[in-house]
Assembly symmetry: C2
């Protein structure tokens, strides 16, 4: 579980949580703007004109034009997208980690013993030093406490309730509004050209499924992610699936092509990621017999979003950046290539 | 892996293999009849008029008619089908077992040591007694030898080559022609009413994927099945996924709802199976908040197919039959309800 990295993330998260006020006001965040305004002649209006946009468009035209030597049959038009830092932001820490910490705090009243029990005490007191001392074991305990022990339906409700209430510390918006407008346009553009779009994320599959259909237009069965084990039971004629505190599958690095093969059963032709955790998925796509397209998102915009790459503890892009340059993959420069970052900024956009 | 049962199956299989001649003639079996002739007014022409057909049709009309109190939104119209004994035959043994035995025989020339090594010796000599003596360990070794150690693409080719050559011992037809015509019509009927159809089978997911799209119109990413572990590697810039000799997931009994939740992320409203291994999947569908439909196929036709249920070593239907009767589920009586079994018999059908 990349635990050392996660502990560092948690450290960052806790810092943020300490600094930001806890917003518990209930607000309706259901009317997120998910419809992407597509101009008649430009399927990617939030992308600046230039090499990146041009290379995406010429690829799509090339492989979808009948008679082209690179034509790809519709059934093979598989496009896979990383989520954290690629379809939505991942700073100052993975949003799922904010969720876990929020859950510990919400559950604390039912667990008075946590006040004196690590690693819970550390989370509740925003005490990073003690939390780090609890190590990998402590972190896994926090994840399992917050993600397991309930039915699948109960967990879905918890995630939805959290999304409806929680606000991102920097932008003050619900987390599912921090999705990238240019990527929404790209998803729509690919689907309009008969690509089937999938999420392939290191994030929890059941943490994503409750909201990604509304946010990205990607249905639940086109989500591949990390998972914990589950258990089936029949109680009083009612079947249910309960989430267990044990890891089932980690969909990161080499796990991504393995997850793609398991869930989708086909090699993608279009892969999109932003970190070293996506490299193997993109290498897998790059080995497709069809002409493929690999798109790395480079976070270069400290002003409108965040700037990070080779030395970042979150979404590190180091080996992947080298590999992309060596192999001529397309790299989105967020600062240069995107006119706008989030849908809620559309009115402020310079266009 | 239901090993004791499988050993018994293997015994049966070997008997059959001994009795039937080994047909190695290469024949083109690609032009299988998969198009289902649907009459304008009858979406299920191979189903006899009666209670079973009527209950299927009235359910579909009820839940797809806008304004009906039982109306189900399109995104929730999930239909899951067992494969062995439900979409194609499973007698005198699971077809995947014929495949494994055929592979052992095909690989034998490269493994002269198998002549004196169990459990291979037993398979090669059709020696059931010794094979049974090799126990669970022996059987798993045969499965792993024939299903692991190659790339995903290589395995797909092996399965396709086998399907193109091998013939069913009783019918002398390629195995993928022993699919049920009435079930093809049912799949088409449901899809015409915006149900999304999935296979949820105890069979190997990568044993099914190479041929189910052509046979049933079900794409690769709508197949849930048992799997072995895989490994990603990058060799000379070429990414590949290799199949490993270790079990990853058994999609049977309680594994079926777990697999459905993992791969599909939604509870089915229409479930279809034929054995006790499907019971939990059907109980899971039965607990749907929407009006659901459970369809058990009862093998009652010894003349045209096979007759077996409570005491069968293959596709046992015992607990499931009791549960279905108690809970008012619909049971297809193959002999009474189906005008024809296989597509290749359509011309001979009494209709």
């Amino acid at each position: 579980m990349k635990t050392k990295k996660k502990i560092k993330l948690l450290l960052l998260t806790l810092l943020i949580v300490t600094l930001s006020s806890c917003n518990s006001k209930k607000e309706d965040s259901n009317n997120i703007q998910t419809e992407t305004p597509i101009e008649a002649k430009d399927p990617l209006p939030s992308w600046e004109e230039g090499k990146t946009k041009e290379s995406i468009k010429s690829y799509v035209v090339d492989v979808t034009t009948e008679g082209s030597p690179n034509f790809i049959p519709i059934t093979d038009r598989i496009a896979t997208f990383d989520n954290d830092g690629n379809l939505w932001s991942e700073q100052p820490a993975y949003f799922q980690l904010f969720f876990a910490i929020s859950r510990i705090k919400a559950l604390a009243p039912e667990h008075p013993e946590w006040k004196n029990k690590q690693p819970y005490k550390a989370v509740l007191e925003n005490d990073m030093k003690s939390l780090m001392a609890s190590g990998e074991k402590g972190l896994i305990e926090i994840v399992m406490t917050t993600h397991a022990g309930m039915t699948v339906e109960a967990f879905e409700k918890i995630v939805k309730d959290w999304l409806a209430k929680a606000k991102h510390p920097r932008f003050g918006k619900p987390y599912n509004e921090l999705i990238y407008q240019p990527m929404l346009e790209l998803l729509n553009y690919l689907r309009a050209n008969d690509f089937k779009t999938y999420i392939v994320s290191g994030g929890g599959i059941e943490f994503m499924r409750p909201w990604v259909e509304e946010a990205y237009g990607i249905p639940k069965d086109q989500v591949v992610g990390s998972s914990i084990k589950t258990e089936f039971s029949l109680e009083n004629g009612q079947a249910q699936i309960k989430r267990l505190p044990a890891i089932d599958f980690i969909d990161d690095k080499a796990g991504k092509p393995i997850g793609i093969n398991k869930f989708i059963g086909k090699k993608p032709v279009f892969t999109s990621g932003n970190s070293d955790g996506d490299l193997q998925m993109m290498q897998y796509g790059d080995s497709n017999k069809h002409k493929s397209f690999q798109l790395y998102l480079h976070h270069t915009d400290a002003e409108r979003e965040w700037a990070y790459d080779r030395d970042s503890h979150i979404g590190q892009l180091n080996k992947g950046l080298d590999y992309a340059i060596e192999n001529g993959w397309t790299i989105t420069d967020m600062k240069k290539d995107w006119k706008v970052i989030y849908p809620f900024q559309l009115n402020e956009a310079k266009n």
